[in-house]
């Protein structure tokens, strides 16, 4: 077999990795900002921290045009059906960042109306701790998500078929104390 020498500016890769590379650097965030985390989300998009350096600056307010949902702030029980509906309206492949303590766990709001972590009811890829997280933390989560997309991406989305991705992270739902 003849060995072909490639020119310097030519690379050989797998199609999956190429697609993952493209996807990870053109994330289109859907800002689902319900509380103070939303303010940090806005400042992440503003000029000082400038999320566009990481290829994710175009916030779209239509779920049809997004592939990254950033849930920023507490989600109450009246809001969760709306959140789920927006998530279902987004096109595959899609990812979700759970930003802040309230969104990830309910935070200090352990009351009847606040959902104790959105990952009980929908898939979450990256969690950001903090109350609210600094913009740097959100940017780190986007960098982490980019690495995740590049590592596991398949062009037909087979990575989402794995059993571990089929169920929410916390399958255990509290028993109702009726």
């Amino acid at each position: 077999m003849a060995i072909v020498e490639l020119p310097e500016n030519v690379r050989v890769t797998k199609l999956d990795e190429l697609v993952g590379w493209c996807r990870s650097y053109s994330l289109w965030p859907m800002p689902y900002a319900t509380a103070c985390c939303g303010i940090e989300l806005m400042s992440t998009g503003a000029s000082r921290t400038d999320i566009s350096r990481f290829g994710a600056e175009v916030f779209r307010f239509s779920p049809r045009q997004c592939d990254l949902m950033i849930v920023a702030g507490r989600v109450v029980m009246k809001m969760l059906p709306v959140l789920q509906r927006i998530w279902q309206q987004m096109l595959e492949p899609k990812w979700c960042i759970s930003m802040g303590a309230c969104c990830s766990t309910g935070g200090v709001f352990d009351t009847y109306s606040v959902v104790q972590g959105i990952d009980r009811f929908m898939p979450v890829d990256v969690y950001v701790p903090g109350c609210p997280p600094r913009p740097e933390q959100l940017i780190q989560s986007i960098v982490d998500l980019q690495a995740k997309i590049q590592q596991e991406n398949k062009i037909f989305g087979q990575q989402f078929d794995a059993p571990s991705r089929q169920r929410p992270k916390r399958a255990l739902i509290e028993k109702t104390n009726s």
């Binding site: 029980m77 009246k78 969760l80 059906p81 789920q84 998530w87 279902q88 987004m90 595959e92 899609k94 352990d110 009351t111 009847y112 109306s113 606040v114 959902v115 104790q116 009980r120 009811f121 929908m122 898939p123 989402f160 078929d161 991705r165 089929q166 169920r167 929410p168 739902i173 509290e174 028993k175 109702t176 104390n177 009726s178």
Partner: protein
């Protein structure tokens, strides 16, 4: 604060009123039967044209409390900057007070909020629906006998997975 002349006029118009004062704020406790008449007097004759708030307190297991719910009407008179707090008490079962929407339009949503969170019915309210919580919600969560973490309402949702997304 409330002008002494206002208090005198209110005393002259109605009996059975209990006045008290705390840090310059006048409170008047009214029997449930005459609450609407007293509020009518305050609005029509004494010029309290602004309803600041309608709210409620649950006195379940409160020390020395004789009644379950205490209704609170905060009134203001824009012309003289007077304020007055009107209170009345209602009890289980089916705590009901007359609506004041006919006096102040703005009471509409305030009374809906009290109905939503405390379960106080308002007789004569044009549209007594829940205002904050979902329509399907069963309880009135600011009542003291409602558990802080609810009765499982926050867990009662379908679980979305990747395959369904």
């Amino acid at each position: 604060m409330t002008e002494p002349s206002t208090i005198e006029a209110l005393k002259a118009a109605h009996s059975d009123l209990t006045f008290s004062e705390f840090r310059g704020q006048t409170r008047v406790v009214v029997p449930l039967a005459s609450i609407h008449d007293v509020l009518t007097t305050l609005k029509e004759q004494l010029g309290f044209d602004y309803l600041v708030d309608v709210t409620c307190v649950d006195y379940l297991e409160y020390r020395d409390a004789a009644d379950r719910f205490g209704m609170v009407y905060l009134l203001a008179r824009v012309e003289t900057n007077e304020r007055i707090t009107v209170r009345t008490f209602v009890n289980d079962p089916e705590p009901t007070v007359p609506s004041v929407v006919d006096l102040w339009e703005g009471a509409n949503w305030l009374e809906r909020e009290v109905w939503d969170l405390f379960g106080i019915r308002f007789d004569g309210h044009p549209d007594l629906r829940r205002i904050v919580l979902p329509d399907a919600f069963q309880a009135h969560p600011l009542r003291k006998d409602y558990p802080l973490q609810g009765r499982g309402e926050r867990h009662n949702f379908p679980v979305l997975t990747r395959a369904e997304g």
